[in-house]
């Protein structure tokens, strides 16, 4: 039971997701009746499951929500923007209640009271009034002397047909309307029409001139196949039409029930009075056997294999073959397996070990001096490729679309904008961008803060917006995308932009920067990330506690990410987070500086070059620039920067790595030599050393030695701020 309950909560998360999606579509005015159905079903299913586990608070709330949704479904209630706003709130509360039920935490009725009152007002009735009438129903006994039942409600059956109708483009081009054909078909008898929309492309790929829908029709008619064909006469040759009579090749025979003589004869219908669904009879209670199967049933929905043994008196073999050895799960459209995250983590760790192992093996082969075409070497090459494939596949298992995260943000926007009385609309893009699960989890807090900031500080009040000629409703955009091996998440608003004079003034007042220091716009923007900086005049409910952006920045950095700001006065502000795709393995360039071996992430290197004297220009004491195809790029001496050695006196002939920075500018990093290029396993340093500026992590090399993985962009930023390498770094490097 506990297992089913756990899977219920997982299912709830999926249902809540489709609920959110559906409501969003409705709010965007892009919903059809099926969307409304999906939303209704989501609430309904949560209620149903909750009922089974006796989660009364959840059931009560879901029930009211469901009633309201049902009214929308049956067109009794119009889903206006205000109604949807309430529904969004209901969805949020439903999510809270699910979480409370999962965590077994107590429910505070006051949190739902207001929304429940609003639903009552909307429906014009309260939960108490909504009593369900008792409907009389006499159960119909089934005679198991099959085929045929004594209480057969249908008249002598007519033949039925399965018709598959797939119009070709030509059919539409000639102005035919499938609906008319279906209507004509209905004249022939009862039918059930299923439209298969699986091959419908996404909206952006939808061609209005191409038909992609297929109809499957179950038709019961005595008119015969000829009459059906007649309906399609006019479209003969411009559609695919399959008509099959629904008679299986051999008779559909149920296995007869064969009872041992000592058992009472069958069937023995109990008196109808016994069937009280509300209060089960005592007899029934006594006969109910608790589940006898062991707790550790492999699949809650899967019967034990023995279930599928053929009954003794089986029907003819071709028809009555044992059922396939799967239960419901396998036929789901999205075949998925739920796996404990720990197992995947173990797999990830093992892959990491393989990568290290492979590096060691490669090193040994190198040292053995085997010829380049030896089988060992070629075998190793394949091993390398396979390792990489495995690593990528494993990472894909861990990857999740950012959708769930984005949905949480839409709630943050709803709540925070309501709190401060601004109208805000959140637009999300790239929700299907996949990111490592851990990254998604650890991104939730910083992103929440950024979204709140955008709503609270970024956007102006409704009146201010209108005064400056903008729409009263502010816009916040949340975007995710893949860009050169990293994930970029952007939070942008169309608010007033950063007031740089004010930011500078506050920074000076707080003693964060010396008053006479001239700062560039970017530098001023970056002041926002300083600890203890807050521009809000009053500490509002949402943000402005002064622990904002610096905490956000360190959270992002802890994920191996970076954050940057761009802002334009009057137009808005964009915060951009760039994150590594995975926290486990990266492609690195192995370099050496002052006899130390270091790793530089390959995706941060634009190119590598050897300097000639003519490339170099001195720009002041210890400051050099490099002329690269007529643009000047600052030079950074890695050895000196990390404190490994004194700056070189002459840089000609040295190897430099050209590094692209976040803002698009470049820097040339001097190293002694490039040793190799390979995958390395990331071993975090955070836990032991905290954050070390310029250093992303460490790794284990093929020879078993430890090498630091650089964060070149951070290193360059540090260096341009003229900060000395921290003592921490020296400690590690030593």
């Amino acid at each position: 039971m506990a297992e089913i309950k756990a899977s219920f909560f997982i299912e709830c998360d999926e249902l809540l997701e489709s609920l959110q999606d559906g409501l969003q579509l409705m709010d965007d005015g892009e919903a059809d009746s099926e969307t409304v159905n999906v939303v209704f079903r989501a609430v309904h299913s949560i209620k149903g499951g909750a009922g089974a586990f006796g989660l009364d608070d959840l059931v009560k709330f879901a029930h009211r929500f469901e009633t309201a949704m049902d009214d929308v479904r049956s067109d009794k209630l119009e889903a206006t923007h205000d109604v949807l706003k309430l529904f969004f709130q209901c969805g949020d509360i439903l999510a809270d209640l699910v979480r409370e039920a999962r965590d077994d935490s107590p429910h505070d009725p006051s949190s739902t009271a207001q929304v429940l009152n609003e639903i009552d007002a909307l429906l014009g009735s309260s939960a108490e009034e909504e009593a369900e009438e008792e409907v009389e129903f006499q159960p119909m006994t089934l005679s198991l002397d099959l085929p045929g039942i004594d209480a057969d409600p249908t008249p002598a059956s007519e033949p039925s047909y399965t018709i598959v109708f797939e119009p070709e483009n030509e059919l539409y081009n000639l102005g035919n309307e499938p609906l008319f054909l279906l209507r004509a078909l209905r004249e022939l008898g009862d039918m059930i029409v299923t439209c298969e929309t699986v091959s419908l492309p996404d909206l952006d790929q939808l061609s209005v001139e191409t038909g992609t829908m297929v109809w499957t029709i179950q038709l019961t008619t005595s008119e015969g196949e000829g009459a059906i064909k007649e309906v399609f006469d006019f479209v003969d040759g411009i559609c695919r039409l399959e008509i099959t009579e629904n008679t299986p090749p051999t008779a559909y025979l149920l296995p007869d029930i064969d009872l041992a003589p000592e058992l009472p004869p069958l069937p023995m219908p109990p008196a109808a009075e016994n069937l009280s669904l509300e209060a089960p009879s005592a007899a029934a209670e006594n006969t109910f056997l608790p589940p006898q199967l062991p707790e550790a049933q492999p699949s809650p929905s899967g019967p034990p294999p023995a279930t599928y043994s053929k009954p003794k008196q089986a029907a003819p073999a071709p028809v009555n073959k044992p059922a396939p050895k799967t239960s419901g799960g396998a036929t789901t459209p999205r075949a998925t397996v739920r796996v404990d995250l720990h197992r995947i983590d173990r797999l990830v760790n093992l892959v990491g070990e393989i990568v290290i192992n492979q590096a060691m093996l490669t090193q040994s082969v190198e040292e053995a001096g085997l010829p380049p075409n030896s089988t060992v070497r070629t075998g190793l090459e394949e091993f390398l490729q396979l390792t990489r494939d495995i690593q990528e596949s494993v990472m894909m298992i861990r990857a999740q679309p950012v959708k769930s995260l984005f949905q949480r943000m839409s709630r943050i926007v709803r709540e925070s904008s309501a709190d401060i009385g601004k109208d805000v609309r959140l637009k999300t893009e790239g929700e299907n961008t996949e990111v490592d699960k851990t990254v998604i989890e650890r991104l939730a807090d910083p992103l929440t803060h950024m979204i709140r900031n955008a709503v609270d500080h970024g956007l102006e009040s409704n009146a201010e917006r209108e005064a400056s000629g903008k729409s009263a409703t502010g816009n916040v955009h949340l975007t995710a995308m893949h860009r050169s091996g990293r994930v970029v998440i952007e939070v942008s608003d169309d608010g007033a932009g950063i007031n740089r004079e004010k930011v500078h003034q506050i920074a000076v007042e707080k003693g964060l920067v010396p008053p006479d220091l001239q700062l560039t716009d970017t530098e001023i923007d970056n002041l926002l990330f300083l600890p203890g900086f807050s521009t809000a005049k009053e500490v509002s409910n949402l943000s402005g506690r002064g622990v904002g952006m610096d905490v956000v920045r360190s959270a992002i950095q802890a994920l191996g990410g970076r954050i940057s700001i761009t802002s334009e006065r009057g137009k808005g502000t964009t915060f951009s987070i760039s994150l590594p795709l995975t926290l486990a393995v990266l492609d690195g360039m192995i370099i050496s500086v002052a006899k130390e071996t270091l790793v530089v992430p390959l995706n941060s290197i634009l190119e590598t070059l050897t300097l000639t004297p003519s490339d170099l220009l001195e720009f002041g004491p210890e400051t050099h620039v490099v002329n690269i195809r007529n643009t000047f790029v600052p030079l950074l001496d890695l050895g000196a920067e990390l404190g490994y050695r004194e700056p070189l006196s002459d840089y000609s002939g040295t190897v430099v790595l050209l590094i692209m920075q976040e803002d698009g500018s470049r820097a040339a990093v001097v190293v002694d030599a490039i040793e190799d290029q390979r995958q390395v396993v990331i071993k975090g340093l955070q836990d032991s050393y905290g954050r070390v500026p310029g250093i992303a992590a460490a790794t284990i090399l093929g020879d078993g030695k430890i090498a630091l993985i650089l964060d070149p962009v951070d290193l360059i930023t540090q260096s341009s701020g003229r900060t000395r390498p921290s003592s921490n770094l020296e400690k590690i490097a030593g």
């Binding site: 006994t141 089934l142 019967p303 279930t307």
Partner: protein, 128 residues
Amino acid sequence: MALRDQLRTIVVDDMSTSRGLITQALEGFGLQQIETAVDGQSALHKIATWPVHLVISDMNMPGMNGLQLLHSLRTTPQTKGVGFLLITGKADREIIEYGKKLGMNNFVKKPFQPDQLRVAIEAIVGRL
């Protein structure tokens, strides 16, 4: 051989939690032959190759709802005689009357206890 050893049942519900709960209850009654399907269409496919005595179906499902499944079963000669037990969260007159018309054998209102399900099944097929 008791009835519970031979009665073939298919549980149709789009929610895996519900399928799990119903299946577990049925196994608790000692039923030996249980199949599951995630919607009406796949139930029909399954029943075509694995004939059943009893269909236990949820009402609210994507695609075909419980009563549409019932209609489909009743209008197909080979399945018109199977027992049909509807599981529904809402048991209002409209649904029940329509079910009656289509030849629904019995229904159970959600949420239910296993013994309620048992009583409802036994009302159709007799003592398990």
